[in-house]
Symmetry: none
Subunit: 420 residues, 2 copies
């Protein structure tokens, strides 16, 4: 079966000048991927009639489906709609009554007058089908082109660009695609690793990767903060695919060992949270160089109040001594960035809060550093029922990036301690 191919086109000057980041394209391509439609390209283009006609035509020629978003606002919809009418050979507009009703409703609810420019949004080229936009004023237009036009049957979906509206209408567009195209069945499975660079990971699992069945595609998706995500994709999936993929995941687990932290699409802090919640255990944190980032990450997880008691960010040595009970002699003798200080910080905050586990950091996030430890170094401490452990990590980034990597490494160090 031929893969159904799609191109996503976002129309609007505000994207091209960098004013807004385009989040619609990734939203749409994820939804397409779920039903086995492959996104071959994404294009952002200007609110310009010739650009719209030229680029959409080219994308329709190269793809089965084109989804455009944007360009349909009340102040500029004429350009896009006229361009779509010309592209599709429409000679007149018709009013969509259902959308006109919604336009009235939405504007009334906002206490605004219904102006001519608003009502004009209910007009669509006479050769398109309409999906009503329930969250906004511009309807979704569907143009179906016969094979004679672009060498193959092709469909253009013109959607509004406001993410809140795009999101709501996407389900209907996906349904229409499922009804009009014969789709491959596609199956994805993601597993998360931390602690190995892409190249080292690749060497480690080479025997397994080399033995993958031909229809299983492996992608390495590295991210410095979440580690390397491994994604297995199977095209032409059938009822045997899930167990095939689960078997492959089980087979790679012994190679990955503790570097694997989730066989779903998960964050380190969510995994740590689940481990703690399952055992009814609790956590506290003592941060120095990470300055609150660890506590912030831990508390972005919904329900974290069930296991996270609190944290102390001891940016000054006085707070380390007074609140956490770090000994002056330790700081003077070992240095503020040291294994011993990390250990005393972890033990101090655990004593203070009575938590099952505690996690600490002390390091140099940027250019300071000292003769013992250069900038980019962090000592991480974990204290818990099996005693206190520390480990040093080194990175080479700017302040912000080092803080983020320190925090991720610390949370992973805690995870490894908990699962031991």
């Amino acid at each position: 079966m031929n893969t159904v191919k799609a191109s996503i086109c976002t129309i609007g000057d505000e994207i091209l000048i960098g004013q807004i980041v385009d989040t619609n394209s990734s939203l749409i391509s994820r939804a397409l991927g779920e039903i086995g439609v492959r996104t071959t390209r994404m294009v952002s283009l200007a609110d310009d009639r010739n650009e719209i006609i030229g680029i959409l035509s080219k994308q329709l020629k190269d793809n089965d489906i084109v989804i455009s978003t944007g360009g349909l606002g009340p102040t500029k919809d004429d350009i896009t709609k006229d361009a779509l009418a010309e592209l599709s050979g429409s000679v007149s507009y018709v009013k969509n009554e259902a959308q006109e009703l919604i336009i009235h409703e939405i504007l009334h609810a906002r206490g605004l007058d219904v102006l001519d420019v608003n009502i004009r949004q209910a007009l669509v080229p006479d050769n398109c089908e309409v999906i009503v936009n329930k969250r906004g004023t511009a309807p979704i237009m569907i143009f179906r082109f016969p094979a004679s036009r672009f060498g193959h049957p092709a469909v253009l979906y013109a959607m509004p660009g406001v993410p809140f509206e795009t999101e709501a209408a996407l389900g209907d567009v996906v349904e229409d695609i499922k009804n009009h195209f014969k789709l491959e069945s596609i199956y994805h499975k993601t597993i998360m690793t931390y602690g190995l660079a892409e190249s080292a990971l690749s060497e480690l699992i080479a025997p397994w990767e080399d033995a993958l069945p031909a229809n299983v595609h492996l992608a390495y998706l590295p991210n410095p903060l979440t580690g390397v995500r491994l994604r297995l994709s199977v095209y032409d999936a059938d009822e045997t695919t899930e167990s095939l993929v689960n078997g492959l995941v089980e087979a790679v687990k012994p190679l990955l060992g503790e570097n694997l932290y989730s066989d779903a699409d998960d964050s380190l802090e969510a995994v740590v949270g689940r481990l703690l919640k399952a055992k009814g255990e609790s956590l506290s944190v003592a941060e120095s160089c990470t300055g609150g980032e660890i506590a912030h990450l831990i508390t972005t997880v919904p329900g974290s109040s069930e296991y996270f008691l609190g944290s102390v960010t001891s940016y000054s040595p006085e707070v380390k001594k007074k609140v956490l009970g770090v000994k002056a002699a330790t700081i003077d003798g070992c240095g503020i960035v040291s294994s011993a200080v990390a250990a005393e910080m972890a033990e101090g905050v655990r004593r203070l809060t009575g938590s099952t586990y505690s996690l600490s950091t002390t390091g140099w996030a940027d250019s300071y550093g000292d003769e013992r430890e250069p900038a980019g170094t962090v000592w991480v401490g974990v204290s818990g029922p099996r005693g206190t452990q520390t480990r040093r990590f080194r990175y080479k980034g700017d302040r912000k990036r080092n803080i983020e990597r320190f925090a991720a490494s610390a949370i992973d160090f805690l995870r490894r301690y908990i699962i031991k």
Copy 2:
């Protein structure tokens, strides 16, 4: 003068499948806009040799400049580099010694072995110029095409796709563009406001805006976390432009009052940091629902250790009582999310650390809420030489978004207290 036109091409399957949102394109187009280069298109394409050659050629034909990002990772750089070699007519690769050194440095700093796949990243087609990538292993390649090739002189910059690396190398790319193209002179000035919505702001400064000279363009750039940024742009700028714009900024200041927090492109936490540093004063923080986000923001500012003493994240009532000295009767009588608890938290952490000022938060970031205060409510407290003040803010977002808005509102509340 003809406008210099650019196309931004992001290469990588991970964008097309929607795994990551492309933030590089908006970063780059903003930087181009600052020097007067107009971005005409953005294209995301697959890690596929034919796609890369075909699309980059088309974009080079339609534009003066093409900037590509991505496709240069150690496991897949061969495709992109081979495609670029073919596109540019290169027949051999040469090793860039400076980049090879950095590859060794980066991997050593991470305690990783230097593999062949890593060293291969230092190889570049023999007809390109190189900008060394100081933050990553893949160098930036510059291909200059004569007018004979695409009908006009054109330049292709191939950059790495990791945003941290793209960001760092962008300055050098912009410099190269400035040196090789005759650009319109454009002058931008940004001022930052917090506390007013775009529409309210627009009403407030209407008299000033209506009187702006015709060649001065004003843009409202709203962001829920940094407030509304106002950007003044003057095209065809000359030596009189800077003083003209500075005069305009001075004229709008009385209208904006305390809502203006910076007449540069600045963050709230950087502004607060400068205020504290200038007076030799210090800060501590007591967080509940913001879970470390405020401390994190404060400490992302370089040099923050000069004024930030530390923070306590008291996620559990016990930590609020034991560490911060919040009275049980206050929690029971007023509720955990209340003005009184915010005040006692601020006073408690100020007492604990001896700081000049302290800032506190207690609120409901998501669906919890109670009968007194619904979800999305935060009470913020500030304590300092002029006593303790509290204020309530309410937002309607998800957990993550509410935490971010609570933190921004709290830091702005502190700023207003300090400048009083």
